[in-house]
């Protein structure tokens, strides 16, 4: 198959949110011995960019957005082992530890952000919901994260976002991480008030935000 056609099909698979096709095309690319880093950059990433555009134009809604993110994950699930065996590494946009803070069991918004970050090239460590604050820090330390992303849906649990930042300061680790906050009650003002590095109001904005903040140690 001509490379350009393959890339166009990959882009389409992402835009259509077709995980099966995205995975199949990735396997094809690997079998034909293509440069897999180029495959990601020229085949799949333009698909994601297109999805972002469609979202911003109001053409795409959450179901399309998440299906596309899942399709991207399906492709990467095929490509990553191949890259590893070739001792290559996909260019990562950074490592992010994410979770809903303790006392809060709402995880839909957090899942959306985790999916979009992952699709956007971040290495994501999703700790789930009702996550103890210490756990965020332990995990971030363990994996050498760049970002700690905190979700909260309740005003009562939102205070834990502030507490995490205080905890980082106590441990003298604040400068090591970019702390991003989100969730219904959070806001730009709140982020500034508690000294977070950023706030995003939705999953697409979260990826943009993370990309705009250079990882602390790139």
């Amino acid at each position: 198959m001509i490379k350009e056609t393959l890339y166009a099909d990959m882009q389409k698979a992402i835009v259509d949110g077709d995980g099966a096709a995205a995975g199949r095309l990735a396997a094809e690319a690997a079998k034909s011995g293509l440069d897999l880093l180029e495959v990601i950059e020229k085949g799949y990433v333009p698909g994601l960019a297109k999805v972002g555009e469609l979202w911003e134009q109001g053409e795409y809604f959450l179901p399309e957005l998440i299906s596309s993110a899942e399709a991207m994950k399906a492709a990467m699930a095929v490509l990553e082992p191949e890259l590893r065996s070739a001792r290559l590494k996909a260019r990562t946009a950074g490592k992010a530890v994410i979770g809903t803070v303790e006392g809060d069991i709402h995880d839909i918004g957090k899942n959306l952000v985790a999916s979009m970050l992952q699709a956007g090239g971040f290495e994501v460590f999703d700790l789930g919901a009702d996550v103890k604050l210490e756990k965020f820090i332990e995990q971030a330390e363990a994996v050498g994260a760049d970002f700690i992303c905190l979700s909260a849906l309740l005003t009562t649990t939102m205070a834990n976002q502030r507490r995490l930042i205080e905890l980082l300061k106590q441990k003298d680790l604040r400068a090591k991480y970019r702390v991003l906050v989100g969730g219904a009650p959070a806001s730009q003002k709140w982020a500034e008030e508690i000294g977070a590095d950023g706030y995003a109001e939705n999953a697409v904005a979260a990826v943009k935000l993370a990309k705009s903040l250079n990882p602390v140690r790139s």
Partner: protein, 489 residues
């Protein structure tokens, strides 16, 4: 005389009701439900449900559900604090109460949301006591000046001190149940007396899809044993935590609600359970849960119909808005919800006062909504044949140009047939200009101030007041709250 028709709407054909209920049963049999509470799991297993403990999953067959339905009372009678005034929750009776557990208050002066404090809760309870169309009070605001761990009980404590109305409430943590029950029992003079004359309804929300958390399952069990009515609040979000189709969401609603009902009945046969909910249409752009979406109201009205089919009392979160202030949107969504809920015959309607996806309480909105609720009660009274003949005899001796203003028929009936508006504007234009071009919000604020001014504390024996305070203080102390905030009473 012809019997008055109670105006009613039904969204589902009888065939579709049957199909939805049948699939709800099948869902419980095939997929089962997740129960993260040991005691509930034990009860279900003892009743023959097939449990898969490693996954905390239990499959319940329709025979057990059917059996539990037969022991659940078709209606519950709530009593006010004095135990004298009663309210039937069942049939097509409707009772409005404020939306529950707002995390913030819309401050009228700044028109911004802020955290509520004790004095705000006091104002809220006082206002509710004066609102004639709000039958029940609810623990509708969370106070930020007490530790979160005791805030569930604290709302109830203030509500019982300040208002005589029955309460819609719920626990925030398992430990909250005991002191809350103690407060209620203290008012009634004993636990048996409380069970005989329920004073509060406890909400318990399953986590969609198909899960009862430790907290909510425990609330069902504890309430059932204390004879306190439980309100199951299933809350699927279409396309996110339940199916995108309304009928699909209703199937899940049936499965979640009935599994909760089974837990209640296994804890104590005959325990009162209200088939309630707070499902919503999920906004696929914003990822939010609009309570004012027309589809949300359709889901609510439809499951209420299913609840009636199952011969259960019903509840819904309707008559509220997602707007952030009192504006056109808040009026539209609230009034539409109130009218539909009333026409659907939802027994307990929670919502008035609430803005911003069930998260913000506005006292001014509550006053406006009180008027909306009044319209809704009037609406479902319907149109009666008052006299026989209806009209003919009133036209005897009719002369051209005559009016009915002085006719005895008018004096006899106009007050019964027509309601007078208090906040809705019905002034002629010039009068409205002369009166300062006031808006609904201006009038609502004035109304709130007047009502708070006129409020007088419903008397409570000193000994009981002390007892309530003792229960509250005892519960608050371990959370580091040595003294309760001043209520200014």
């Amino acid at each position: 005389m012809v019997k008055t028709k109670r105006p009613k709407i039904e969204f589902l054909s009888p065939e579709l009701v049957e199909r939805i209920v049948d699939e709800g049963y099948a869902l419980l049999e095939r997929q089962g439900v997740f129960v993260e509470n040991e005691e509930a799991m034990g009860l279900l297993k003892a009743a023959g449900a097939r449990a898969d403990e490693s996954a905390l999953r239990v499959r319940v067959d329709r025979r057990l559900v059917g059996e539990c339905l037969t022991t659940t009372p078709p209606s519950v009678t709530m009593f006010d604090r004095s135990g004298e005034k009663s309210y039937i929750v069942g049939g097509d009776e409707i009772h409005f109460n404020p939306g529950s557990a707002a995390v913030s208050l819309l401050d009228h002066r700044t028109q911004k949301e802020r955290k509520a404090r004790t004095r705000d809760l006091v104002d809220f309870c006082r206002l509710v006591e004066t609102l004639e169309h709000i039958h029940f009070q609810s623990t509708g605001l969370i106070s930020a000046d007490v530790p979160p761990a005791v805030s569930d009980c604290y709302r109830l404590y203030l509500g019982l001190l300040l208002s005589t109305k029955p309460v819609v409430t719920g626990t925030f943590r398992v430990e909250g149940f005991e002191p809350m029950k103690d407060l209620l029992a203290a008012v009634r003079g004993g636990e048996e007396e409380l069970a005989a004359k329920p004073l509060a309804i406890f909400d318990a929300c399953p986590s969609p899809p198909l899960k009862w958390s430790n907290l909510t399952a425990q609330s069902l069990i504890d309430s059932a044993r204390a004879g306190i009515p439980s309100e199951t609040i299933s809350m699927g979000m279409t396309g996110a935590t339940s199916l995108a189709t309304i009928a699909g969401t209703l199937v899940q609603h049936v499965a979640e609600s009935l599994s909760g009902l089974v837990i209640c009945q296994l804890a104590r046969r005959g325990a009162p359970v209200i088939f309630g909910g707070s499902p919503s249409s999920f906004d696929m752009r914003k990822g939010t849960t609009p309570m004012g979406a027309i589809e949300t109201m359709m889901i609510d009205s439809a499951y209420a119909q299913i609840g009636k089919h199952l011969k259960l009392p019903t509840h819904a979160y309707m008559a509220l808005s997602d707007s952030k202030v009192n504006d056109a949107q808040s009026g539209i969504e609230t009034a539409l919800g109130a009218a539909l809920a009333a026409l659907a015959g939802v027994n307990v309607i929670s919502g008035p006062g609430m803005l911003n996806f069930e998260s913000c309480m506005s006292l001014e909105k509550l006053a406006i909504d009180n008027e909306i609720c009044g319209m809704a009660y009037r609406l479902v009274e319907g149109i009666a044949q008052r006299e026989d003949p209806i009209a003919l005899d009133k036209f005897e001796g009719y002369k051209p140009g005559a009016t009915f203003l002085t006719h005895p028929h008018t004096r006899l009936w106009y007050r019964k047939e027509h309601t007078l508006a208090k906040l809705m504007d019905r002034d002629p234009y010039e009068a409205w200009v002369m009166a300062g071009r006031t808006t609904t919000l201006d009038k609502a604020h004035k109304d709130v101030q007047e009502r708070l001014g006129k409020y007088s504390l419903p008397p409570l024996p000193d000994s009981l007041r002390k007892e309530l305070r003792k229960i509250m203080t005892r519960y608050a102390r371990p959370s580091g709250l040595a003294r309760l905030p001043r209520t200014g009473l």
